[in-house]
Amino acid sequence: MNPVTSDAVLSVRTLTKEFTNPEGTVFTALGGVDLEIMPGEFFILLGPSGCGKTTLLRSIAGLEQPTGGEIWLGEERIDELPPFKRKVNTVFQAYALFPHLTVRENISFGLEMEGKSPRSAEVQTRVSEMLELVGLGEFGKRKPHQLSGGQQQRVALARALAKRPSVLLLDEPLSALDLKLRREMRAELKRIQVDAGITFVFVTHDQEEAMSMGDRIAVLNKGTIAQLGSPRELYGSPVNRFVAEFIGEMNFLTATGNADGAMTAGGTHLPAAAMIEPIPEGESVTVGVRPEHLRAVDRGPINGRIVAVQFLGTDVRLCLRLGGDEEVWARVSLDYEGPTALGSEVSLAPTERSVRVVRP
């Protein structure tokens, strides 16, 4: 079969993967996934645990045999090749560095497997380049156990990049690091990706990580792609409640359309101007509004009592209980001077075109 003509460096076509449990029940890890990943892209596979993102990555690497579908690397169909014949390399979640080899030997391992002598000038130069790239110039003679988690992570990256793969696969590589290091590594990974000019496919369950690094993000849910787009698109126009909940934060309310906007189940009026799309009169839908789109005002349409306050440094978050049992979170700026005591009344107004209808 010929590849569909496209510029994609990696194409995944209707890929399926089913596992049969010992009890005989079939679990669908991937239910027909289609992806086109472009050269030089920082592509993110995002989803909660069990959504199939790691299975997808491992299928591309060849460590998992898909049940159906095709995987193309450029012009070459790779889904039936053993992992050592695929021009993709993986950075593993637990790094999987070889404990008996030094950092340099770890990095040259892949080149050695291509039949190159580890002592050759070519290999030694490449290893030094990789060490420089990940900022570990002086650590070449160390053993993995003599390095910190962050340093081991960089070695794993250097080892996979040394082979100059067409696509680099990264399986939650930052999840074992502490928060501060993780933030640093995001910028660092992005820099390395641009410097090396290699396509990255990055698996994560952390939406902040995904948003901060990804050129495009595929949100996976239960083995299928819920939405694919740039971070801005996903945040600005989530296609369904799953994506809206997973990317950023959102308040969800049940509302019924009326002549001048909508009325929530708890009796709060949402003005028509706040709606991204009008709700047909009499129709009951779920609407969503992001906390940062709710401003504290003197007299607004949304009124409630404070039930929780979170001071986050950059802004303050208030949780209000409205009529009925409805609760909404609002992010108000630091110069907010209204009441913050629990139980005090606050009035909020949604910004224009900020309330959207969310499909289940």
């Binding site: 690497a61 060849g62 460590l63 053993p82 992992p83 050592f84 390399n89 993986t90 593993f92 637990a94 999987a96 560095l97 070889f98 404990p99 008996h100 391992f109 892949g110 497997m113 291509e114 053993k143 993995p144 156990h145 003599q146 080892r159 996979a160 082979k163």
Partner: protein, 319 residues
């Protein structure tokens, strides 16, 4: 709580230190080890000294025990022989036996290694419950006496044994399997395989198979994954297994005696003969000490190997 109050409590604590009956983990009492140390000194240290002393004594008139005077004759006999005229000439007889024992032990070690590594890796990759069953199965041979198990091989390998019966059933000539060096090695390998299997299994069980995945991902073929990643990770177990097999195989005497038909000498059989049939305790002691020295050299070689492992960051040091 105000400042002065905090200060006063600290002073109170400093004034009368509290006594807590508690031992920090990792600081066990030396007295707990005393029984083992006393047994070790009395029943290992002292006998070794006695054997060394005996090797410099003369043969007792009755044959049992030793007698004065102190002599180096026993040690000379290991390498030289005197004829009736008192001329001394080099006699490699015992060196040959020594060498035979060394290479037989080495061959036994190599064969058990080849058998144990794949089996250990296979067991280590089974589901946990099956794994413990298989490990238990590997220890079943220990439930029966070595002597009985060696006799079993005599029955299997002799001219009318099952093996030869099977060979003849195919219309082939029977093989002289027993007694022979071949039978000796079979007997040794059979007895020592568990000693190789168990330590290697311990290493294999700790092996992170994600490392193998990483190696495949980096372009390693199956063979390369085994030689470059799996075997180096099994090294501590392999080293321990080699010590546990090589050292006792070097001094083995049951298998050479029963399966080798006592026609081919080994260090173990010679020592045994000096103390029984030949009734020459001092010479037996000298050969024993020579074997001890040889064993120490072998251990030293393994120790150097394990020190290199330790330098490579392996946690477990063998010696």
């Amino acid at each position: 709580m105000n400042r002065s109050h905090v200060g006063s409590t600290i002073e109170e604590h400093a004034a009368r230190p509290r006594h807590i009956s508690w031992r920090r983990p990792g600081t066990a009492s030396p007295w707990l080890a005393a029984p083992a140390i006393i047994i070790g000194v009395l029943f290992v240290g002292v006998p070794i000294v006695i054997v060394i002393v005996y090797s410099f004594m003369s043969r007792a008139p009755g044959g049992t025990g030793v007698a004065w005077p102190v002599t180096f004759e026993n040690w000379q006999r290991l390498l030289f022989e005197e004829d009736f005229d008192g001329n001394r000439f080099f006699n490699p007889q015992y060196l040959i036996v020594l060498w035979r024992s060394v290479w037989t032990a080495a061959l036994t070690t190599a064969l058990t290694l080849v058998l144990a590594v794949p089996a250990a890796v296979w067991i280590a990759t089974r589901p946990p419950r099956l794994r413990s069953l298989l490990v238990l199965a590997a220890t079943i041979p220990f439930w029966t006496n070595t002597l009985i198990r060696t006799y079993a091989w005599m029955i299997l390998l002799n001219d009318q044994g099952i093996v030869n019966a099977a060979i003849q059933a195919f219309g082939l000539d029977p093989l002289a399997l027993y007694p022979s060096l071949f039978a000796t090695v079979i007997g040794l390998v059979y007895v020592f395989v568990p000693f190789m299997l168990l330590p290697i299994y311990t290493s294999a069980a700790k092996f992170d198979f994600r490392l193998a995945e990483a190696a495949y991902d980096l372009g390693a073929t199956r063979l390369r994954v085994v030689t470059r990643v799996l075997l180096p990770s099994l090294r501590p177990g392999i080293l321990a297994g080699c010590v546990l097999v090589f050292v006792p195989a070097l001094g083995a005497f049951i298998q050479p005696m029963l399966l080798g038909g006592a026609k081919v000498d080994f260090i173990g059989t010679i020592i045994q003969r000096q103390f029984k049939e030949s009734q020459n305790w001092p010479f037996g002691a000298a050969i024993s000490v020579a074997l001890l020295a040889l064993t120490l050299i072998a251990l030293l070689i393994f120790a150097v190997g394990s020190r290199r492992l330790a330098a490579q960051g392996e946690k477990a040091r063998l010696l």
